[in-house]
């Protein structure tokens, strides 16, 4: 095939958008949106990497901090949420062997997510609203630094996105427990118990003859467990958004709402409790669930220590709900008991829950030797490595003594956050994309294996390299969330920027590979309505 033919029709013209079911199209739309927003985040990241070496003349400091504010939100909500929503809206019914509860709701999730992210991104870009994702009170309502109108639209965007998230949550839980038309009545309560890990815990404690059958496959249990945290987190972000909006509307209408009415430390506790339900709750649980699924799909074997894995999901619930105080180890008014119990000890439990998932996946893979080093397998190993590097880095900073010299340094955001997200989470999501691609496209092939290899190595080396150089700068005192205009840490920042450019190249290579696999007509076809009436996931 000529380059032009491949570009228009995809590799070997194998991708036929007309053959896709409604749900296949929705999944692919989520993937396209997720990848486009990932592109936003990578480009923003690269701009900031260059800025950290030498401020770019046409980007003002205010614009820089607006980028710093938008970057994690676009990355997590625009990209990761979109990819996770798409994958789980397909996998939950696929593994439960029943239709998705509502295709319409799935479409609305996508519309609300996309428009919400675009709205806050544009509001930040135009108005330079930049209170960071942390929104430490009363910074979000400091109208001497930020535009009240810019902030209003920014927060409104977040709220819209959260409504889309609520639609996703409803769809997932309803899909697990509902009875499809014409089916025998489903045991909703038992399904829910199995989904949140309660049956797994009971089985662990029960005698062999009393053990109950798992009604829900393990990856669905992980999806359900992570979604419980998502419910709480969405509620907290929505509540916080409404609170900020009240102050903004008050300011617009000329009322002087006292900022001191909100206790800054209580707010910080509240907000981090909610935010950690993402960082330490649903991310770790969704990732563990995706690892389990990938391990089972790659090996075709049962998961090692399945009951323990299920019970650990329930244990992770206790951990993710009580772990937030490690973000407040440098807050002197925070009670010492919370610092030690929640900040140190509960956080240390993440080493156990994530280590346990890590071991279970490795043991499952080991049991199926010899395996072919396919794209899903190598990206899965990359994802495992990412968390193996990032979780101990996080445990170290979650120590009262070490936090005193690490808090808000580049150590936090480099070896911990970026290695966890870019290597751990993103490589796991890439593994899922590589394994689901032929299923959701009805057998389309990747255009080039060479490009897939470049994607893997550049992403792995770039991500670890960037995290490492940021970490070295952090250990030498470089702070995050600020600028060093005299180039104090330029050696590390230049090396981090070179690593960052590998990440950018890796993404462009992957994006090109995807477009060449499905073709331009295919990309457009994904967004046209499905011609198949079926509610089934795959064409009959």
């Amino acid at each position: 095939m000529s380059f032009k033919d491949t570009f228009m029709n995809g590799a070997e013209s194998l991708f036929k958008p007309d053959s896709l079911t409604q749900i296949q199209k929705i999944v692919l739309r989520f993937i396209v949106v997720g990848l486009v927003f990932y592109g936003f985040a990578v480009i923003e990241g690269m701009i900031m990497r260059i800025y950290a070496v030498d401020p770019i003349p046409f980007i003002s400091t205010d614009q820089y901090f607006a980028i710093l504010t938008a970057h994690p939100l676009v990355g997590i909500f625009g990209s990761t949420y979109a990819l996770v929503f798409g994958a789980f809206l397909f996998l939950t019914p696929y593994l439960m062997k029943k239709p998705l509860y509502s295709v319409k709701l799935a479409n609305w999730s996508l519309i609300f997510l996309t428009s919400g992210v675009l709205l806050f991104w544009i509001a930040g870009f135009i108005s330079h609203y930049a209170p960071l994702y942390t929104l430490y009170w009363p910074l979000p309502v400091d109208f001497s630094q930020f535009s009240v109108w810019g902030g209003t639209f920014f927060i409104l965007g977040i709220a819209i996105l959260m409504v889309g998230t609520l639609f996703f949550i409803i769809n997932i839980f309803k899909t697990i427990v509902y009875t499809p038309e014409g089916w025998e009545k489903q045991p909703s309560a038992a399904l829910l118990g199995s989904a949140i890990g309660y049956t797994g815990l009971k089985n662990m404690l029960a005698k062999k003859e009393n053990k109950k059958e798992h009604l829900v496959p393990l990856p669905v249990a992980a999806i359900a467990r992570g979604t419980v945290d998502m419910v709480l987190n969405t509620g907290i972000i929505l509540f916080t958004g409404v609170l900020i909006l009240v102050y903004m509307l008050g300011h617009i209408l000329g009322f002087d709402l006292k900022e001191t009415a909100i206790d800054a430390l209580l707010y910080k506790n509240w907000f981090w409790w909610g935010l950690d339900l993402i960082a330490d709750g649903l991310v770790l649980i969704f990732v563990a669930g995706t690892w389990y699924l990938l391990a089972v799909m790659i090996t075709g074997k049962k998961l090692f220590m399945q009951n323990i894995a299920r019970a650990a999901l329930l244990l992770e619930l206790v951990v993710s709900w009580t772990v937030w105080s490690h973000h407040l180890l440098s807050d002197q008014a925070q009670p010492a008991i919370l610092k030690v119990v929640s900040g140190e000890l509960v956080t240390a439990f993440e080493l156990i829950t994530q280590g346990l998932a890590f071991f279970i996946v490795l043991a499952t893979l080991w049991s199926a030797r010899p395996l072919k080093m396919t794209n899903p397998l190598k990206f899965l190993l990359g994802g495992l490595l990412g968390f193996a590097l990032a979780v101990p880095a996080g445990i170290m900073q979650a120590d009262v003594g070490l936090n005193r010299i690490l808090h808000n340094t580049q150590w936090i955001i480099g070896p911990h956050v970026h290695v966890a997200i870019l290597i751990g989470l993103t490589m796991t999501l890439y593994a899922a994309i590589y394994i689901l691609f032929p299923i959701v496209t009805n057998g389309a092939k990747f255009y080039s294996q060479k490009l897939a290899n470049i994607h893997f190595w550049f992403h792995l080396i770039g991500g670890i390299g960037m995290g490492a150089f940021m970490g070295m700068a952090g250990l030498n005192g470089m702070l995050r969330r600020t600028l060093y205009i005299d180039g104090e840490f330029n050696t590390y920042m230049i090396l981090a920027a070179i690593s960052g450019s590998l990440l950018l190249i890796s993404f462009l290579v992957f994006f090109y590979n995807i477009v060449m696999s499905v073709g331009l007509k295919g990309v457009i076809g994904i967004f046209s309505p499905s011609k198949l009436e079926t509610k089934e996931l795959l064409p009959e």
Partner: protein, 186 residues
């Protein structure tokens, strides 16, 4: 005495060794799973040993740091200590207000920094001349933000806000405003 730069060195060495080991283990694992081999079944005993090891590791990290990092017990039991010197510092409108132009400290003094914010959440960090951090804390409005620190080495130090408080916050630097006098006998 153990100071923050020594702790950071220890951490750098420990984490670097760990990274190299885990990279090698994953590389070895990736190689081995593509090959045929004996003993494909992993024994549950190995799994339980691994979980036990992680539990011991997670808890012992904090016990070790509590007993080896000098400021940790001081920090958690601040009310039990009497400072040799106290500095009341105010922060408002992205500016630090110090009690004196220069904060002069005798070597080995236990110093209390009591920092109050009148508006936003800021940070309070003390840095060496090579930009490395000696310590920091958050400065939250409406609450007491106090930290005790023993200065056991002479030198000049810079105060800098360690928390983002809007774009104006990047200029919150007071260069060389802390002076620790030479230690006796040095």
């Amino acid at each position: 005495m153990v100071d923050s730069s020594m702790v950071l060195w220890g951490q750098t060495i420990a984490y670097t060794i760990y990274c190299l080991v885990i990279l090698l283990v994953m590389g070895w694992f990736a190689y081995k799973i593509t090959k045929t081999g004996k003993g494909n079944k992993v024994k549950p005993a190995l799994f339980y040993t691994f979980v036990g090891f992680l539990t011991v590791l997670g808890v012992s990290l904090h016990i070790i740091t509590y007993n080896t990092i000098p400021w940790t017990p001081v920090d958690l039991n601040r009310s039990d200590y009497n400072p040799d010197k106290t500095f009341d510092i105010t922060v408002e409108n992205h500016e630090f207000f110090l009690p004196a132009e220069k904060l002069v400290i005798d070597c080995n003094d236990l110093v209390l920094f009591d920092v109050t914010s009148k508006d936003l959440t800021y940070g309070f960090g003390v840095f060496r001349t090579d930009n490395s951090m000696m310590f920091q804390m958050q400065v939250v409005p409406g609450h007491r933000n106090d930290i005790l620190w023993r200065f056991d080495k002479p030198g000049i130090y810079t105060i800098r806000s360690t928390e983002y408080s809007g774009p104006r916050g990047i200029f919150m630097i007071l260069k060389d405003v802390i002076e620790v006098l030479p230690c006796e006998g040095s």
